[in-house]
């Protein structure tokens, strides 16, 4: 599943498909940082659709009452798959919802990289020094389709997509600003694009060669240790796969789970 990564090294809780369920987690994590006296805050990202979920309201309310240093960053890109914002809420966007819960909130042009940088930097400082939540509504537009399985021209005009792509493209805006300061040019652009492409292709090559994990891994990390019922199920599965290998993917190794 794309985008469902996580990284302990980068302080990045693993992403899940459930919408807005991470926002109450963000509050709990922020509370922990506060209690530990850390010079750190939590940032939780979600979309315009996510602001309709119960967990969003739960999280904002808890963050305000429990005074947790968390930044709620809403990427309001106008679309939740095929649902436009006008079918999502009738409030004045998401910023007023933060306000309603007693959370200081700000609306920012999400396509202006400098404005976003400035807002988030200030929000971080405020969240940490005051130990209170902040909501940032970044107003932007989803130029792409929802996923590769989606064709968004089925529910919105192509002209609309093209307009945002041309007139309000954040990459173009930022690039023009860099070039106007003499910090960027066509050569640098070409070099960056070429290097990025090479890096990406290499990463794909490396990933494609990585062996699939053994089927025994399916049974680990359900709990901290493998319980007996899963040992039994794994043994039975091994027997079945060994007997009927043609019915199972051949590139997944079948190795025993080490006994705990």
């Amino acid at each position: 599943m794309p985008v469902h990564y996580g990284s302990k090294k980068l302080n990045y809780f693993t992403v899940a498909s459930t919408i807005a369920s991470q926002l109450p987690h963000a509050v709990g994590a922020a509370y922990s940082l506060k209690m530990d006296g850390k010079d750190a805050c939590v940032v939780g990202y979600f979309g315009d659709g996510g602001s309709s979920e119960g967990d969003f309201h739960a999280a904002l309310n808890f963050a305000a009452v429990l005074e947790a240093p968390v930044i709620f960053l809403c990427r309001n890109n106008g679309w939740a798959i095929s649902t436009p914002a006008s079918d999502q809420f009738r409030s004045d966007g998401v910023v007023v919802k933060g306000q309603a819960y007693g959370v200081r909130s700000i609306r920012v042009d999400g396509n202006d990289a400098l404005a976003m940088y400035s807002a988030v930097r200030s929000a971080r400082e405020m969240a940490i020094t005051e130990q209170k939540p902040i909501l940032i509504e970044a107003v932007t537009y989803r130029v792409g389709h929802h996923t590769t399985s989606d064709d968004s021209t089925r529910y919105r005009p192509l002209e609309e997509i093209e307009w945002w792509q041309m007139a309000r493209n954040p990459l173009t805006l930022y690039r023009k600003w860099l070039e106007s300061n003499g910090w960027w040019n066509d050569e640098a652009e070409a070099e960056l694009r070429s290097n990025s492409r090479k890096e990406l292709l290499k990463a794909i090559q490396v990933a494609e060669k990585i062996e699939k994990p053994p089927v025994g891994d399916m049974f680990t990390d359900v709990y901290d240790a493998v319980p007996s019922n899963l040992f039994e199920q794994e043994k039975l599965l091994q027997q079945t796969v060994t007997r009927y290998p043609q019915d199972y993917p051949s590139d997944v190794p079948v190795r025993a789970v080490p006994s705990s």
Partner: protein, 384 residues
């Protein structure tokens, strides 16, 4: 005897070897957390207390022994609606023991985030009947937190406590036993104590276990159940069932408040010459199949009893598993004596409840008589 057993297949002979009560299987049903399997040291000084006091004591110990532990939920600050959190806020401060807004999904979601940062988060849901708004957080988040991150993250420090079960006048929304919903969720544990001393040890184990635990407390026993509870810090192992009454004619399995009902039925049965073995399951998932199997291989009969409605109740899982493992040993169908398939009623509660009459009279007494006769005839046929 072994050769006869061998004829009935590998599963039968493996499954019905007699166990010493303390034998642990090769692969552990107990997790790798720091939970010693020591029994409660009876020599240590105990004090007579009820269930809510024992739970309160466990929480005091948990907070004192671990500075990274927190207790929160609706109304826990002043001591809680059942007094389980009395004195905690005064002693540990309102940053560690605090009220939350009235929002179960928020309580559990917040608790998951706190636990994921290596804290012990003890979240209270005021009544198990109100746990359902948090069901998504429990099933989709807590249960999968470790698995979906490939072990990079976990919320093992999470414990959700909720009073459950009949209380005499609770009606639809203060009496439910929702344990079966949670037993269907790989990744969490479900623990239900039967008494004050059990509750204290099991709650401390649950809090310290490295996996998210849903801990249901039988509210009817909060005041009613009183016993000597050792005052020191002790833990009872999870995923280990306990034979609390030995017998030879029938195995009865239950948990929580229902065990005292079943014990009454066992005492009554004794007068009729029927010897009952009573097992407290304690942990419903992962559950200790080996202990139940060993008992049924001795008695040949099984009866499971719970307050929750019979259809889809956890008794069905126990029944199916034991039939799989002990089919050729069973001398009667597995019986379930449970709540009826209705919402928990108010005025009809005495009729709904699986009381001792239902356990002892209607459901197995005739079966024991009939099947004893049948089985003695069939043993004659098989062994000549």
């Amino acid at each position: 005897m072994a050769s006869v057993l061998g004829r009935y297949g590998r599963k039968w002979s493996l499954g019905c070897v007699s166990y010493h009560k303390n034998h642990l299987p090769r692969f552990s049903t107990v997790t790798h957390s720091a939970v010693p399997s020591e029994p409660i040291q009876q020599q240590q000084a105990g004090r007579s207390m009820n269930l809510y006091s024992a739970i309160n004591q466990a929480l005091h110990i948990a907070l004192e022994s671990d500075s990274r532990s927190y207790v929160f939920g609706e109304d826990v600050g002043f001591g809680g609606v059942f007094r389980c959190t009395t004195g905690l806020a005064e002693r540990f401060g309102k940053h560690r023991v605090f009220n939350t807004p009235l929002c179960e999904q928020g309580i559990v979601g917040f608790a998951i985030g706190l636990a994921a940062m290596d804290n012990r988060a003890v979240a209270e849901i005021q009544f198990a009947d109100y746990i359902f708004p948090a069901f998504d957080q429990i099933v989709n988040e807590a249960a999968k937190f470790r698995y979906r991150s490939g072990g990079q993250f976990n919320c093992g420090g999470l414990t959700i406590r909720a009073p459950y079960g009949a209380v005499g006048h609770g009606g639809h929304y203060h009496s439910q036993s929702p344990e079966a919903f949670f037993c269907h969720v790989p990744g969490i544990k479900v623990v239900i104590p039967r008494s004050p001393s059990q509750a204290k040890g099991l709650l401390l184990s649950s809090i310290r276990d490295q996996n998210p635990v849903v801990f249901f407390e039988p509210k009817w026993l909060y005041r009613l159940s009183v016993e000597e509870v050792p005052e020191h810090d002790y833990m009872l192992p999870l995923s280990e069932a306990e034979v609390i009454r030995e017998g030879s004619d029938i195995t009865l399995v239950g948990w929580g408040a229902q065990l005292s009902i079943m014990e009454q039925a066992c005492i009554d049965a004794e007068k009729e010459g029927i010897s009952c073995e009573l097992i407290d399951l304690k942990t419903l998932i992962p559950w200790d199949k080996e202990t139940v199997e060993a008992s049924v291989s001795k008695t040949g009969r099984l009866l499971v009893s719970h307050e929750a409605p019979i259809t889809g109740g956890f008794g069905a899982e126990i029944s199916a598993s034991i039939v799989e493992r002990c089919f050729l040993r069973l001398e009667a169908p597995v019986s379930r004596v449970c709540g009826l398939d209705t919402p928990f009623p108010l005025v009809f509660e005495p009729f709904y409840m699986p009381n001792k009459n239902k356990v002892s009279r209607k459901y197995w007494f005739p079966k024991i008589c009939v099947t004893t006769w049948c089985s003695s005839a069939s043993w004659q046929l098989v062994f000549g």
